[in-house]
């Protein structure tokens, strides 16, 4: 039985950022990520699960019970540690409210601090702790009441890049060690792909797609997911299907690609930057481009190439020069098709790709 079941959840907001008919389930022990741009409703959804705000309609069931106190804990974006209490008192606060005994509190705080990787003097106050230590105190406070689910609201977004990468690893290990269900909100797709067992991509109050990182990356359900997941983002080019339905017309070029069955006349072609190659290969599709610019970025050059009226983004190991004419090659099977009007993915009919 799933740990969290959300059914037909609605929430209206006068200022936008509401939720429209959200339904999904999270299994026990899963690391579930809500990913989306700011204002997509991911934090709103988290607040509803935490019972910090009421839903307009719909149901949130946690392990078979209604959402509320006790079943969930939350790690806030700024950790929300009580500044006038020591680290120990912060972690002990929920236990004191449960009116547990002194020794019991001491024991459980010590255990949780250990689980959260805290090796500091617990008599220090939040202001005396580093960013990483604060996160660990917040994690310890979150697990001390032994909640079913831990909610995390962009807990890494206020840290610098280096600390973020190392705490990401720590968070993942923490979740594996405690075996708790985690629901994690972020707008950073790198973080989402690295952490999630499954993730839900949200936009404008709706869930666009749910699945494993691999599934979302390899088969985005629509144009939005395709452009939002992956860095550098997928190249998207408008094209028409030729009357013979054996090739595509993109700008003034003809691509010898047979479109999937059932594709409408207007489509959007998607091709990931890493699927474009400069190595000639007769088995692949070739496109002729003009190099617009190539930015040095160390290991590789970030290349922008003009193809008709569209711009293609890719990477190259060799330096390319502005205005150079170059041919890029890609495999037919690496192309994604989207309906130009609805944005929805058009799957390949045959199982080959």
């Amino acid at each position: 039985m799933p740990e969290l079941v959300i059914r037909n959840l609605w929430r209206g907001f006068s200022s936008g950022g509401g939720l429209r008919d959200i339904s999904f389930e999270v299994e026990a022990g899963e690391f579930f990520v809500l990913l989306g741009p700011s204002g997509c409703g991911k934090s709103t959804l988290l607040r509803l699960i935490a019972a910090l705000d009421p839903a307009d309609r719909g149901a949130i069931d946690i392990a078979g019970t209604r959402a509320g106190h006790g079943a969930v804990a939350m790690v806030f974006q700024n950790y929300a540690l009580y500044p006038h209490m020591t680290a120990f008192d912060n972690i002990a606060f929920p236990l004191r409210l449960m009116k547990l005994g002194h020794d019991e509190i001491r024991r459980r705080v010590a255990a949780c601090a250990r689980t959260a990787g805290l090796s500091i003097d617990l008599n220090r106050r939040p202001a005396e702790l580093s960013g990483g230590e604060r996160q660990r105190v917040a994690l310890a406070r979150a697990i001390v009441r032994e909640p079913r689910i831990i909610l995390m609201d962009e807990p890494l977004s206020n840290l610098d890049a280096q600390l973020r990468a190392s705490l990401r690893v720590e968070l993942k290990r923490f979740q594996r060690d405690t075996g708790r269900t985690v629901i994690y909100v972020t707008h950073d797709q790198v973080e989402a792909l690295a952490l999630a067992d499954r993730l839900a991509v949200m936009r404008a109050g709706r869930i666009e797609q749910i699945g494993s990182p691999r599934a979302l990356y390899d088969a985005p359900a629509n144009e939005f997911v395709a452009s939002f997941v992956g860095q550098p983002p997928m190249n998207l080019v408008r094209a028409r299907i030729a009357p013979d339905r054996k090739s595509l017309l993109a700008g003034d070029s003809v691509l010898r690609i047979e479109p999937p069955a059932g594709a409408p006349d207007e489509v959007i072609l998607g091709i990931r930057p890493e699927d474009l190659s400069l190595d000639a290969d007769p088995a692949k599709v070739a496109i002729e481009t003009t190099i617009e610019r190539a930015e040095f970025s160390g290991a590789r050059f970030l290349v922008v190439a003009r193809f008709g009226s569209a711009y293609l983004l890719t990477e190259s190991v060799e330096p390319l020069h502005t205005s150079e004419r170059r041919r890029f090659y890609f495999e037919r099977s690496r192309i994604h098709f989207f309906d130009a009007s609805s944005g929805r993915r058009i799957p390949w009919a045959d199982p080959s790709p």
């Binding site: 974006q77 700024n78 929300a80 006038h84 929920p94 409210l97 009441r145």
Partner: protein
């Protein structure tokens, strides 16, 4: 050439200017206090001497003694302290509630701001007249306990305490309360264990400021306590109708709480002043 020089002079010349400015400030504050001191310990004849005397010729302890021996003085001191304490406590408690409501709800902020702006703009002198009539009618006029005056002072101080405490509560992130809510705390518990301790310094500042406001309030005290006086109107009467020496001694006495607070709580007060709002 440095842009910083525009805003903050440095170098030798600037240091000199700064020292002169500091001296002027100290003298400006110290001179009236010195004059009071002198008048409090010299016979009255010297206070009005022309040309003015900068140093006392004769010294007397009579004025200082009278402050503690004359019954009218003693009663006024106790009454003033009582009124100021009532005002300080009730204005701080009510101000905390009002400031919290302003910090946590948009409606509360709108209502609070309107109330504060209105009370700040309406001339108190004009309000005093119907108030005095109302007090006469309901029997709060000129009571020995001065409970009516304490009420008025609390009402006068409330906008100030609310405006000192509003930014203090506003600065406490809502997430702290939400975290405490998820940790299982009740709303009252959250207010008592999270909000109040974090607003300690501004609460102290609000109490001190409302205490001093009452301690120093003259207009309503003059109008509402015609016979059972507090210190400020008493000082006024002694100044105008009587005894400059005794008045000076009283005035010195009135400065004691201010000086205590200045010395003991300067940093707390300055922090609260810097944090946000204060007249």
């Amino acid at each position: 050439m440095s842009r910083r020089e525009v805003s903050m002079p440095h170098g030798a010349g600037a240091a000199f200017i700064r020292r002169v400015a500091a001296l002027a400030i100290v003298l400006g504050a110290a001179l009236p206090i010195y004059l009071l001191l002198k008048q409090a310990v010299t016979p009255e004849i010297e206070s009005f001497a022309w040309p003015p005397l900068w140093l006392p010729r004769r010294v007397t302890a009579a004025h200082l003694e009278s402050v503690f021996t004359v019954v009218e003085f003693r009663a006024a001191i106790i009454r003033s302290i009582a009124v100021a304490l009532v005002c300080g406590v009730s204005a701080t408690v009510m101000g905390a509630m009002m400031g919290y409501a302003m910090a946590r709800s948009r409606w509360g902020r709108r209502a609070g701001m309107t109330a504060v702006t209105a009370t700040r703009l309406l001339p108190m002198t004009a309000v005093a007249l119907p108030l005095a009539l109302a007090f006469i009618l309901i029997g709060l006029y000129d009571r020995p306990s001065a409970i009516g005056l304490a009420l008025v002072h609390s009402a006068l101080a409330l906008p100030m305490t609310a405006l000192v405490l509003f930014p203090a509560f506003l600065a406490i992130p809502l997430e702290l309360e939400e975290a405490a809510f998820l940790d299982g705390a009740s709303p009252l518990r959250i207010f008592m264990t999270i909000d109040l301790p974090l607003a300690r310094a501004p609460l102290a500042a609000a109490f001190i400021l409302s205490f001093i406001l009452s301690w120093d309030e003259f207009g309503f005290a003059l109008l509402l306590q015609v016979t059972n006086r507090t210190l400020p109107p008493l000082l006024y009467y002694y100044t105008v109708f009587g005894d400059v020496g005794a008045a000076s001694a009283l005035a010195l006495l009135m400065m004691i709480p201010a000086i205590c607070v200045l010395v003991a709580l300067r940093t707390v007060l300055r922090g609260a002043l810097m944090a946000g709002s204060l007249r």
